[in-house]
C-alpha cells in the first residue's frame, strides 16, 4: 500500500479517476450527475466524453454546460450501445444505486475496453463499528441516508466487489482506496484495505 496523493481542490475521487485515463480517449460516464467528472476529463484529459444520467436536473445541467449527456438508466439503457464503443466506461459512486450491478458491469465490460468503478466501501471500520456498537443501520459521510430512504440498494465491500469482478472475468489493473482525505494505491483488495478504505476506485479490464 503506497501513499497516492493529498487532498485537492476538487472531489478527490474525481481526480483519481482522471489520473487513470489516457488523454484523448473516448469516455462514457454512467450516472454523470451534473457532469463534474466529464467537465474535468474534457479539460484535463481532452477526452471525447459522453454521459448518461437518470435525473432530469442532472442531464439538463450537464447539457447546459456543453456536455454530451442523455437522460437514461444504467440498468436499462446501456444495452443500446455497441461493443467496444468507448475506451473507458465509468461508474462513479453509482453502482450501489443500480438494480442489477452485475448486469450493469457486464454491459460496461462489453461497451468499453476499460471499466472504472468508484463506490463507498461498506466494509469500512466506521460502518462496522456503527452497526456493532449502536445496532442501527450505519449512516456515514459517504452513506448519509436512513435505511428507508436510501438510493443505495446494493452496497458492497471491497472484497465483495473484487469477487464480482473475478466472477465477470474482469482483471483489476489499478486500485486506489480513500482513507479520509488521503488516497493509497493497492495491488489487490485485502483484509486491511477493506477495513480502512472509506471509498475505492477500481480500473478494470477484460481478462484475456
Amino acid at each position: 500500500m503506497t501513499y497516492q496523493n493529498g487532498p485537492t481542490d476538487g472531489r478527490i475521487d474525481l481526480d483519481l479517476i482522471a489520473a487513470m485515463i489516457t488523454p484523448g480517449s473516448r469516455v462514457l460516464d454512467v450516472g454523470c450527475g451534473d457532469g463534474d467528472l466529464l467537465a474535468l476529463l474534457e479539460t484535463k484529459r481532452n477526452v471525447d466524453g459522453r454521459g448518461v444520467e437518470l435525473s432530469q436536473e442532472g442531464v439538463n445541467a450537464s447539457v447546459a454546460r456543453g456536455l454530451a449527456v442523455v437522460q437514461g438508466d444504467a440498468d436499462r439503457d446501456l444495452a443500446n450501445y455497441p461493443d467496444d464503443a468507448f475506451d473507458y466506461v465509468i461508474l462513479s459512486q453509482t453502482i450501489q444505486a443500480t438494480r442489477n450491478p452485475k448486469e450493469v458491469l457486464r454491459s460496461m465490460k462489453r461497451i468499453g475496453r476499460h471499466v472504472i468503478v468508484s463506490f463507498p466501501n461498506f466494509g469500512h471500520w466506521r460502518v462496522r463499528m456503527k452497526l456493532l456498537l449502536t445496532g442501527r443501520m450505519p449512516e456515514t459521510r459517504s452513506l448519509g441516508y436512513s435505511w428507508y430512504d436510501t438510493p443505495n440498494i446494493h452496497l458492497c465491500t471491497l472484497l465483495d466487489f473484487a469477487a464480482l469482478c473475478d466472477d465477470l472475468d474482469l482483471d483489476i489493473e489499478d486500485a486506489v482506496i480513500l482513507t479520509g482525505d488521503k488516497s493509497w494505491r493497492i495491488s489487490n483488495p485485502g483484509i486491511l484495505s477493506n477495513f480502512f478504505a472509506s471509498e475505492a476506485v477500481f480500473l478494470l479490464s477484460r481478462r484475456n
Partner: protein, 401 residues
Amino acid sequence: MNTIGKASHPQGGGGPQSTEFEEGGIRVRRASQTFGPDEPLALDSGVSLSPFTIAYETYGELNATRSNAVLICHALTGDQFAASTQPLTGKPGWWTTMIGPGKPIDTDRFFVICQNVIGGCMGTTGPRDTDPATGRPYGLDFPVITIGDMVRAQAMLLDKLGIDDLFCVIGGSMGGMQVLQWAAAYPERVFSAIPIATAARHSAQNIAFHEVGRQAIIADSEWKQGAYLAHGTTPAKGLAVARMAAHITYLSEAALHRKFGRNLQDRDSITYGFDADFQIESYLRHQGSTFVDRFDANSYLYITRAMDYFDLAADYDGVLANAFRGTKSRFCAVSFTSDWLFPTSDSRQIVHALNAVAANVSFVEINTDKGHDAFLLDEPEMFATLRGFIDSAARTRGLGA
C-alpha cells in the same frame, strides 16, 4: 420597418429576388430563388418538379469561411418568417424567442436561413401555384411530396447560396423530422443537429389526427375536388375545423385547464344551445378562423401527408440506427414532458438509435405543462440547455464565443 428595396432579376427564370431590411437588431434578407427547367427537383414519388421556387429569409451575415450557417426548419403550418414580422398577419416571427441578437441562435454570430418548405403556401412552389402544363393552379395535380423532398429542395438552395455545410440544423415537430432527414441524407453537411419534439416516424395516432383534418377539408363543398381557386371558392370551414382539431393536439389537458378550465365566454350561464358557451370553444373557433386567412387548404393536405409518410428507418432496412451509421454530427434531442403528440418516448427512440452508433448525442426532456407547442414558447430551461449545446458546438467548430 425600414425597407431598402433591392430587387434583382425581377422576372423569375433562375434569378433570385430579394429585399433587405433591419428589424429588431437583425439584418433580414427576404428572398426567393427559382430553379429553372435545367434544375428540376427529383421527388421521392418519381415525379420531377420543375420549375420551382423557394421563398426564404436569412438573418445575419455569412462569415468568411462560410462555417456559421444555421438552417431553421419550420413546422407544418410555419413559414420562413421565423424571426421577422409575418407580412400577412403582421405578427412577430414564430421563433423570435429562439432567434435574434444574444438569443440561443444568435444572429450576431450565425448566418441563419429559414426556407418555406416545398408544397407550402408562402412563396415556395405548392399546390396553389400555376401548373405550367395546364396554365391553371396545380390543385390536386401537384405531386405528393415527402420530408425527403423538402430537405432535397433545401439543399439545392444552399448549393445556390454557396453553403457547403451547416453549423447547425434545428427545428421542432415537422421541422425536427427535417433535421433528422438532413442528418441521415447529408451527414457530411451537418455539423450539429437539434431535433425538437419530433419523431423518426409519424405514429398511427398522429396519422389519424391528420386524416380527420384532411377529411374536414375534403368534406367542405367549397373545396371542389381541390380546384377551389379555379372556382373562386375557399374551403374555409373545412380548413378551420382541421386547424381546430389539430390545435387541441398541440396543447395539453393541464394547459387547457389552466388557461380556460370550464370558464364561460362572455356570459354568466350556459345557453342550452350550440353557441360557443365555453372559452375553449371560442378560443378554438378563433384559432380556426384566423388560420384560414394565412394558409392554403391544399397545402395543408400535402404537408400533413408528407409527415404521415415520414418513416426514416424504412429507408434504412427498417433499422433506425442505420440512418445515422458513421455520423460525425453532434445531436441534441429535446422533448417536453406534457407533449402527447410527439411524446418523450419518440425522442428516446431517436436517442437509442444514435447511441447504437455511438454518436455524439445529448438528450434533454423539459418539464412543462404546455404540451407540444412548448418548443415555440418561452421555456427558459430549453433555452439554457440549447445555449450550452450550441455554444459548445461553436467552440469546437472554432466559431468563438
